[in-house]
Symmetry: C2
Subunit: 864 residues, 2 copies
């Protein structure tokens, strides 16, 4: 883990500084007088110099955070606005079709049902083909990614395209789906793509730690430009995706989200949708007396009921998914016909909402937006009926069915939408659950509000002034409470204020949201945590509220005791043994089996590389040559020697040749002056320093070792392509004998990269603190030591098991602590592995049992 | 540092669990049949059983977080409301006095000036006498405390009383002072006192980590109940006090702040001040067209100007303090007459605001609250003049001087209030700067708004509808921007929305606040950081925005290389040497001087204890006896032996005697069943386990060693009080000789408490990451290792120097990593130290130079 810290920021910055300084040196120093003369002598010389300077200035500015954030905000606002426009057009088209066919109910029904079915099926098919990662909300994945886990393919252009188009189609169908969660994902992808694009101009964007910070602000932008709610967006994204939040990075989110929301709303003004910048679902409640103190119990009831409702929603959603997966017949059938399930669900839901049919009892003809606008409306439906002042007259009629009661309509709406939303969010299209839940909550609040208004027609207040009850305020409270309960967040309150543009109901909303959270959190995980569990993402669950029993568990209770380790004075045979007996990604390196003093940790891949280097056919041939040479004095001797020399001096590429410079003393500070530092590859300083520290006597000839290891990638390939005639290889028994000899040699760790300070805990560290440290530092594993001696290991798996029972990650890769080391030598890794596998396979067949040793319980993929 | 983790939560919880189980065992098991019989047989037996159960239930509930938070919110709301009431009464009294004397201007002036002078002088004197810690804002101190630093006396009842009464008087005087900062401090003290009070009912509140979490929520409560702004309170307190925030603890702040704000506003309703719960400074801006898009540049100008203004305010405030301190003549004079400075400042300010005098040009007669109400007013002053509808007619007149222009009044107000506020906040009374700055910002916004309204009398919008410009909206934007610039926070935006009850200006406010922050942060530290610097509190400064050069600095560039260390096989003489040559609070323990493998860290006090134990007079006497005994066969021999035995078996108190149980194997889990664990003192498990691990052969007689060390506190005292006759002590030369012998012995570390996993960094860790880790984990120091070998050390001091140059802490104590260990043996520490000092002093006079060795640069108190 400190390996990671060692590398990321400092190295990149140093490289970058050196590069820039070199660049400056190229142009500012009079090294190339001809070029300068050309500039100054020509007619447009000054212009060109100026243009060059401008260009350089711009490029240097591109690296600054605020440029990135403004670009991100701008792009996301455009995306959000364009998508909203497209969705509105889609919904308009459906309404138009439905309206135009009002002569024939059957035709009307066909149009009403076919349109969404086609859209949803297209969306499902499109995402399935282009990028299956785009399915679903995306918030659980972002939560996992911000935790430090690498999820492949989740932040690519393909996924971006799939998500944007898929989401547009899905929302255009009019199904009860939301855009918030997907927008968080879209913004994150946008940030990742943008940083990849901007890295063409400068190296600042290759920094991993910075990119994670940018992803965090991208999440805020996603929510912010979806609801035009910058503050709520920042808070919601923090609550939903982070465990620990650096206040230092706070401003990034605010800046980008504000800019994005601003552009998003300005676009609406520009498009003449609005006269000026206002809230998305503007309310017009009275300001002087928003609510009576005696209405507070009703708000509290909304909060508590929403808590239960939110927990039920999460439970229902999970049960539907689990039911689909467990019923093998259904599962097999659905796997074959992947598009059938979305089409079927859409068919059912759109049939039920068909306005002339059952839809008339649940305001089925209203779009999500219209529903919200009517629910947040100022009037009291039950008592006053339709008021002439009201501008959404046509829309409001949907709620006031002539043959029915507004209460019945609301109850039916809530009940139907509840299971419809829970079902619809399981469709494999890009979709979120926030907005549907928000609408249901608003309807529930409206129901309570209308009941209160019917109960107290002239308000509760007993003074001379009559203040009627405002059911719209109850709808606002209900919306915030239910969405807060489902997502386990408090910031839905802020989102609600920003959405409605009124904050007068702050205390009822806060009370309801807190109560809803208290109830929901004690019953169910949040929707996103539930999806994380379903998808088995490698996330560390939260410790519950005040679970004091967690304080009683200590690291010694959960740690793995019999771990495999590598000793400093071990033989290659021991390495082989260790590799066969465990699947741990990082092996501890101890001084000796007796002392067990932990010296560092070595990556599994590094151990494999050491082993394969020792047993490589190339090295075997070299050995053979050297042995054969003095015996028979063959004619080949000359070329053989020449070949060996050539390996050492010219096999590296020019970039690698730059590394062959005298080693600096390990403890001396490496100066970063341009004259001294190489133009590239200086990321290897650490490795060199470690090496030279690690075995001082090996530091005299590091280049040879390095060249040897570097070329391990394709030794066979290199041999085939070589023009010199080679001696015939050894017979298999001889090879085995030779390899046996090699395995008995002591390991030379000088070429291996060792993390010199892996994270350590002591046995008595409590589970609570362990959880905190793992979350804070994004750890994957930690060694347990006792006064320098290794006694055990704790990984995410053990921690997860201790917190909530078994949960195994599948199909995802936890970032190894030395990821940044490995990235710098990425070219070798793949070929290395294949070479290694060949070696292993051979050895396993000959004298190694295939079963894992006592350390076999490290297997990450075994479900328990 | 892991020592701390080891102890805090788990141990307390275990103790608590064991205690509760024992209690249960006492009552639920039929151990005391007589008592039970008594209960069941008596007439009110069931009642008493029921009462007992209720009591037990209540006590168990007291330990839950929400009970604490509700109590905290309730108490703080009451305090806030009572203080507001008292302040309003004070201000009313002044107004009444001033109004009653309108026949004589001189008398009026006397009353106007004397009243605040007396109040401020009383406030300054009262806090000076009772608790000087109550002076000032309190937010800087809370920031430092939440960073993990122990500031003595900052959270006591005395300080609480001093702060509450001092603040009430200070605000009642009508000076431009605020209550926000002090309220954060008051709420924190309230939380600390409450948890101390509640710990009488259960042990849950003795947990240090939990108390820090509670302090964090208390800060939110402080802001929340001061402005009735729960959301803004939580965000502001996070931004101002935290570096990294655990989202897990988020709800605590929201819960407590909401409850507190609710009660605070309910009290106002109950007192008939308000009809229902509304915002504190309610505005009535129009909802349908809050502002024009083309007004945005004006809002941006307000933001940028506020940024400069905020930076200037912080600069001015600091310069005033520094001027007072540097001018030695002034300083000496003021130190003698401490109350003169407050009185003088009050006199000047109140003279200038005297309404019939200069005050008529700066609305001097308005209180802070009235000023805000008028500034946020709906009307346009410049054009329309006083409107009949306006209800604050009398108040508004203050701004519209007949012989002057409203613009001139505003400009004079802003300029005068600016330096007055900067000066007034340096008075040594409990006071904050938030509210004065807020008012100035509002006035500045109003000025811009009025200018805009004069410029565009019919609004900018060119359509048919005329939307006039609302200068009150500009005032809201200005208030948020300037207070955001001074405090470097974004959440002032949210506070403003909650204060005014309107969120319609969200985008202008956000834009202005972000711009103000960007400008102010690049010019000056925040006001609180500035005070931290002035007071030299041990706080780690923030890394600036995107200072890429910080990434180039590595730990190896800033670490201290020649640190003193203790080796495992050292002699007592070496310990003495180390203690003399360094002042480090924690010494690294390495395997040997050659290998330098870091095994752990040992506290300085522990080393001292080891040394004093070895050289204690008591031990010397014992040694002497044993040596003398066989030689002359004195009659004393019997009692001497008896005495020795008695030392070993009965010198401990009963609690300590409980510790004498067989040692468990170190690696075995310690079961926490009640039968096995002692009723008290089980916090020493760790120590025992460490000891037995550390030197397995010493583990056979740990009790003796422990008893010996434990009693080191007052060996001389013990000897004096002992009834047995003692042999005459050795002559000083003999003592010296004996001590020389003792110093040459090898150190027995079995009785010392060693932190087995001190925090480690590697040389290449960047400054950026080091800063992050120090902030995240609240570290004080970290050792730098290279593959297990100690190569250096980094402490807060080095880090601070590297970030911003030298800054030394004075008068405050950084919490040592083994604080919890030490707390459990707190009884010995003080006496130990004195005994140790005696020893040292003697040795220094004899054969040790007094000067510090090569490690002398560790001195924390030397200003550089």
């Amino acid at each position: 883990m400190y390996g990671r810290y060692t590398q990321d920021l400092s190295t990149f910055a140093k490289d970058e500084a050196a590069r820039l300084r070199l660049q400056e040196g190229d142009t500012s120093q009079p090294r190339r007088p001809s070029e300068l003369l050309e500039y100054t002598q020509g007619r447009c010389g000054p212009c060109r110099v100026c243009a060059l300077q401008c260009q350089r200035f711009l490029i240097s500015k591109v690296g600054e955070d605020w440029v990135f954030l403004i670009l991100l905000g701008l792009v996301m606002a455009l995306v959000s606005w364009a998508m909203d426009f497209a969705i509105a057009t889609c919904l308009q088209a459906q309404k138009w079709m439905y309206g135009g066919l009002d002569t024939n109910v059957l035709l009307q029904y066909m149009a009403w049902v076919t349109y969404p079915t086609v859209l949803i099926t297209f969306s499902a098919g499109f995402t399935q083909i282009l990028a299956p990662q785009a399915v679903g909300s995306g918030i659980p994945e972002m939560k996992t990614i911000l935790r430090g886990v690498v999820l492949k393919e989740y932040l690519t252009l393909k996924t971006f395209v799939a998500k944007v188009i898929g989401l547009t189609c899905a929302l255009g169908s009019g199904m009860p789906l939301g855009k918030e969660g997907p927008f968080v994902h879209i913004a994150s992808m946008c940030a990742a793509l943008l940083s990849r694009f901007l890295s063409l101009f400068g190296g600042f964007y290759e920094n991993e730690a910075r990119n994670i910070e940018m992803l965090a602000s991208a999440c805020a932008v996603g929510v912010g430009c979806c609801f035009a709610a910058p503050i709520g967006g920042v808070l919601f994204s923090i609550e939903v995706t982070s465990t620990f939040f650096a206040v230092r990075n706070y401003w990034r989110g605010f800046f980008a989200a504000t800019f994005s929301a601003f552009i998003f709303r300005v676009l609406a003004v520009w498009n003449k949708d609005e006269e000026t910048i206002t809230a998305l679902f503007k309310t017009r409640f009275r300001l002087d007396f928003p609510f009576d103190l005696q209405e507070l119990p009703a708000f509290a009831v909304i909060g508590i009921a929403s808590g239960f409702g939110g927990a039920l929603f999460v439970y229902l959603n999970r049960k539907i998914v689990q039911f689909m997966r467990r019923q093998k017949a259904i599962n097999r059938f659905l796997m074959k016909k992947r598009l059938l399930f979305p089409a079927l669900v859409t068919l059912i839901i759109s049939t039920l909402t068909f306005p002339p049919g059952f839809g008339q009892f649940m305001a089925g003809q209203l779009t999500q937006k219209d529903t919200l606008v009517t629910l947040f409306d100022n009037q009291t439906w039950a008592k006053q009926g339709i008021n002439d002042e009201f501008e959404y007259l046509g829309i409001l009629e949907a709620w006031l069915h002539p043959r029915s009661n507004v209460f019945i309509t609301l109850v039916v709406f809530i009940l139907m939408k509840f299971w419809m939303s829970a079902l619809a969010t399981t469709i494999p299209v890009p979709c979120g659950a926030f907005m549907p839940v928000f609408v249901i909550g608003a309807a529930f609040g409206r129901l309570v509000g209308e009941s209160m208004a019917a109960w107290f027609p002239d308000g509760i207040h007993t003074d001379s002034n009559i203040y009627r009850i405002v059911p719209g305020g109850y709808a606002v409270v209900g919306a915030a409470a239910l969405s807060g309960a489902v997502t386990h967040t408090v910031s839905t309150a802020v989102i609600v204020f920003e959405l409605t543009g009124q904050i007068s109901h702050i205390l009822p909303v806060m009370i309801a949201v807190i109560l809803a959270n208290a109830v929901a959190q004690s019953l169910q995980p949040s929707l996103y945590d539930s999806i994380i569990r379903i998808k088995k993402l490698p996330y560390l669950p939260e410790l519950g509220w005040g679970h004091h029993e967690k304080y009683n568990v200590r690291v010694e209770d959960i740690m793995v005791r019999d771990i495999c380790y590598v000793t400093l004075n071990c033989k290659y045979r021991d390495l082989q043994q260790v590799l066969h007996s465990t699947k741990m990604k990082n092996l501890p390196l101890v001084e000796s089996a007796e002392s067990m003093i932990l010296l560092g940790s070595i990556e599994r891949a590094q151990v494999g590389a050491l082993l394969s280097a020792q047993l490589s056919p190339h090295r075997r041939l070299l050995m053979l040559r050297q042995k054969v040479l003095p015996e028979d004095g063959h004619q080949l001797s000359d070329s053989s020697i020449r070949f060996q020399i050539s390996t050492e001096t010219s096999s590296g590429t020019p970039a690698r040749a730059a590394l062959r410079k005298p080693l600096k003393p390990a403890l001396k500070r490496v100066p970063s002056s341009p004259a001294d530092s190489p133009p590239a590859g200086s990321t290897d300083h650490t490795g060199i320093a470690l090496k030279s520290l690690f075995c001082a006597n090996a530091a005299t000839e590091p280049t040879e070792v390095r060249a040897c290891v570097r070329r391990m990638g394709g030794p066979l390939l290199a041999l085939v392509g070589r023009p010199y005639p080679l001696p015939c290889p050894m017979a298999p028994p001889q090879i085995l004998e030779w390899e046996e000899q090699q395995l008995d040699q002591l390991v030379d760790f000088s070429s291996a990269k060792i993390d010199p300070a892996p994270f350590q805990l002591v046995e008595h560290t409590s589970l609570h603190k362990t959880h905190t440290i793992f979350s804070l530092l994004g750890l994957d594993h930690a060694f347990v030591t006792s006064i320098g001696r290794l006694v055990g290991m704790v990984s995410l798996k053990e921690l997860r098991k201790a917190i909530e029972g078994s949960l195994t990650g599948k199909g995802v890769k936890v970032r190894p602590p030395l990821a940044s080391f490995r990235d710098s030598t990425a070219s070798t890794s793949e070929a290395d592995t294949t070479a290694l596998h060949q070696l292993w396979d051979r050895h396993q067949h000959h004298h190694m049992p295939r079963e894992a040793g006592p350390g076999g319980d490290e297997d990450d993929d075994t479900p328990k």
